[in-house]
């Protein structure tokens, strides 16, 4: 799991349950103490794999949305909840956004939203590659030290060689890392156990970047895991970004099975694509 704190933005991403929604109210409270007011909220997730394991009050997307709406102030009046489907069973993308009526012009005047966010979810990882995310038997290394080993061994450090990496290996297996490169973050989380292996990769790009940049980053990230199934959610005000994503996946033997787009007030458009390996 990861937490990113910018001067006017907080991102929290947790594996497992939806307990992170309980952070909304205290974050609003502490931000208010600093003279800051909430003006935008975005919540995204894939499908629950174990829906019965999700604790109250977040047992169903409708309930999650109701809960979030109870936590955020009324000034965030532009709200939208959507479940974006895919052709792969049990792979839907759930999105809720809310924004202040003043959010868009304020945000646009201060800094046009040229950045986009790419969230990649990978399942059925290559077994040999996933094995690298297990700590060695009898290894007495700390999580930091073992994490550094995994970063180097798996090639995670090659995804963006310019990034400073903060990594951690869990016991007996599992791995998380955050990369920071200027004002941009990237993050990886891995659950390598066979049968329900999973990895996620998320990064930020700019529509002004060379188109090959995001393609290269995604290729290198996916090659660390070589998943059988992969979904990509791209949040952007530009409609060109998602086509770059498709171009990055196809040479890796991943075939696009579905692609849906939806518009969200103040959050731009979200494109949700699903891919499966053509051959393993």
């Amino acid at each position: 799991s990861s937490l990113f704190v910018y001067p006017t933005k907080i991102i929290i991403k947790t594996c497992g349950t939806t307990q992170l929604l309980k952070s909304i109210r205290p974050l609003i409270h502490f931000a208010n103490n600093l003279g800051l007011t909430l003006c935008g909220c975005r919540y995204t997730r894939g499908s629950f794999i174990f829906p019965k394991a999700q604790p109250f009050p977040h047992t169903h997307f409708k309930e999650e949305v109701i809960y979030i709406e109870e936590q955020i102030p009324n000034n965030l009046c532009y709200r939208k909840a959507s479940v974006m489907p895919s052709k792969l069973p049990s792979y839907s993308w759930h999105v809720f956004t809310a924004s202040d009526q003043t959010y868009m012009p304020r945000f646009a005047l201060k800094s046009p939203d040229v950045n986009f966010t790419v969230e990649v979810c990978m399942t059925e990882l290559d077994r040999n590659l996933a094995r690298k995310f297990f700590k060695k038997a009898g290894d007495s290394k700390t999580g930091d030290s073992a994490g550094k080993d995994m970063t180097a061994l798996t090639g995670v450090d090659n995804i963006n060689p310019g990034a400073i990496i903060c990594d951690f290996a869990f016991d007996p297996c599992g791995y998380s890392m955050n990369g920071i490169d200027g004002d941009r973050y990237s993050t990886i989380h891995v659950t390598p156990e066979d049968g329900y292996s999973y990895a996620s990769f998320e990064c930020v790009g700019s529509i002004y970047d060379d188109a090959d940049d995001i393609v290269g980053v995604l290729k290198r990230a996916v090659q660390v895991f070589r998943p059988a199934t992969l979904t990509v959610s791209t949040t952007s005000t530009s409609h060109e970004v998602w086509t770059r994503v498709a171009h990055a996946m196809e040479p890796l033997g991943l075939k696009c099975r579905s692609c849906v787009m939806d518009e969200f007030p103040a959050a731009g458009s979200i494109v949700f694509q699903s891919f499966t390996a053509a051959r393993r």
Binding site: S1, S2, V5, Y6, K13, C15, A31, T102
Partner: protein, 66 residues
Amino acid sequence: MAVSGFEGFEKRLELHFFGDDPVVNNMEMGLRLLDFESLEKVLHAVQCTVVSAVGNHFFDAYVLSE
């Protein structure tokens, strides 16, 4: 729930803030001024703790347990 405790894909929450006070708006740190004790309170509600951290001129990044 899986034996490992793994419950599926991540959940992601992004919150944006603004300040009416020009002093706050010009402040480079903003939310980064939140003390670690406050962050720990937030993370307690989420049932996570910080296991590793790094930061630069622009933002702070924390790897969390769970």
